[in-house]
């Protein structure tokens, strides 16, 4: 194994930072979903990297569960975006204000 654990963790931190930037700046609902996907992938990369260096199979199992749950989350998230688009004719989250008091 020529790569070290710290390198994978640093790539994961970079992906997490990019995801947080997207969540903080973007106002397009689909782009915020992109950011969430990037953050989930950073977490999965961390899980698999630590599982390789321990070594233990638990990390890979947890990563597989995480990928499956993320798929369910994206399906529901895109359904919500389509409903919101039908109601507001827009996907800018600044317009989704029905619950605002």
């Amino acid at each position: 194994m020529s790569n070290e654990l710290i390198e994978f963790v640093i790539v994961s931190v970079a992906l997490l930072g990019i995801g947080i930037y997207g969540l903080a700046v973007k106002r397009n609902a689909i782009r915020m979903l992109f950011s969430i996907e990037i953050i989930i992938n950073a977490a999965n990369l961390n899980l698999v990297a630590f599982a390789r260096f321990l070594p233990h199979s638990g990390g890979q199992t947890l990563a597989l569960f995480s990928i499956a749950i993320a798929a369910a989350e994206v399906a529901v998230g895109l359904g919500l975006i389509i409903v919101a688009y039908r109601m507001y004719q827009n996907i800018d989250i600044a317009d989704f204000r029905s619950l605002k008091g």
Binding site: A14, G19, A24, V25
Partner: protein, 170 residues
Amino acid sequence: MADAAFLALSVLTIGTAIAALEFRSLVYGSIALMGTLGGVAGFFLLLDSPFVALFQIAVYVGSIAVLILFTVMLVRRELIFTKIEDPKRKWAGIGLMLIFMVGIGAIILDSGLKSITTDEPPVDFRDIGKDFLTYYWPALILMALILSSAVIGALTLARREDTVNEQRAD
């Protein structure tokens, strides 16, 4: 030290992650997101986890990215292009990202992770299969239920209620 494949994958993954958020068109953005997800699958291959890498390609690159592309197609054309953003918010976001990266990076570099290397053989993927069917079987069943309920929920959400069922009208 990092080898060439690792460096190339890092540049691909981080570059396409930035591109996915910054391309003006959402269609190109979702194609760039496919690059990010594929790059993470490449990292899994480097980490000797081919099973997780194939799962990542099948689920993320194969289905999630295509699902996002179809959703983008359902949206009106002018909405998939980004309008000019508030520059103040953008710079605040970049500052937040840099503070976060430097802070967490300093903590990680300061910790003992730097000295961890391994020469042990990788985990056999057959062990993962055994784990799934012995120790984790309740979680596996729960995951199947969650996935099916998520599919039913997504279909219920996206169903149109204003269309009339022609057969029922007769």
